[in-house]
Subunit: 144 residues, 2 copies
DNA sequence: ATAATAAAAGATATTTTACTCTTTTATTAT
DNA sequence: ATAATAAAAGAGTAAAATATCTTTTATTAT
């Protein structure tokens, strides 16, 4: 469904939202540990999220990654679009390249419903929504 | 969503179901052309489907791949499970490895609905169902 | 100013997925 | 029997995704 990069991006964002108290930053090392992902790999992903203003970053001591209230309130879709592109919303289940509703693949009608569900899930839910479950201890970001 | 192999497997199966009149076989070359896929790649995939009895095959002149009525009436899920495994039904959106409903990831509740939809789509629809749309010219397997 | 810290950037390595090419085996028509 | 046909099998290549390692740059505390 998502690329590994995208999974890490979502989990990292939720982790930052959760850890951050006030305006304090959280370091990649801690993030990587908290979501059980390779440190330098998530670093690269977070750099991109930062460049695109989905999260914020600070260099030097006490530096790290953080998110503003506004950033935490963004839908998860924003992250997905940034990392994986819009394929999940637009691509075909069967990989047809130039299909249309007037010339659909056999699975189109059935798959449309799924795609709508996915779109809904990703744009109705914010980083905060998923973070809330974490804070309420109704969910985790890490198992082993 | 599906691997390329799986996309080809589904499209090829529908193509065989559609082309096959009586017990006649259809050659890989024709199949590959009909679904716009690399010939030797689909050959390999079809060999596996054949080994696992999801389709049938015959060597020599007039040989090729074909499907029995029973095979055509199987749900598309059978093909997916064979090629991609059950990941699509069981894996986590966020890639947690040992999660459970009692220790779910933040997206679990939302994602459960999607997964159920996918499962439904794949087990309620047979190769025949999708082939019917093709025969009725309400769908295509190939665009360019 | 200096040293320590942590992200940014870039280069390299590994693994998985996708695809191609060649040889072998089974079947059939002549 | 023989030649033609088409799948089966196997080896090899290419590209993309994932992961690691190293160097540079910005920030801050001393
Ligand atoms: S018709 Fe719909 S499901 Fe089919 S290829 Fe196009 S977008 Fe995908
Ligand atoms: S709880 Fe559900 S969505 Fe989350 S990782 Fe497990 S299966 Fe996936």
């Amino acid at each position: 469904m998502f690329s590994k990069s995208c999974e890490y991006a979502i989990k990292a964002s939720i982790f930052i939202a959760q850890k951050r108290e006030g305006v304090q930053c959280v370091r990649v090392k801690e993030i990587a540990k908290g979501i059980n992902a390779p440190e330098h790999f998530v670093a690269k992903i977070l750099q991109e999220l930062s460049r695109k203003k989905v999260i914020s970053s600070m260099k030097g001591p006490n530096g790290g990654f953080c998110m503003s209230e506004a950033q935490i309130n963004k839908p998860v879709l924003d992250i997905v679009l940034l990392i994986d592109g819009d394929g999940i919303l637009n691509n075909c289940v069967l990989g047809l390249e130039h299909c249309s509703s007037s010339n659909p693949c056999p699975m189109h009608l059935e798959y449309q419903k799924i795609k709508l569900g996915i779109k809904n899930m990703l744009e109705k839910n914010t980083i905060r929504d998923f973070n809330n479950l974490l804070v309420a201890k109704e969910a985790v970001l890490f198992t082993d």
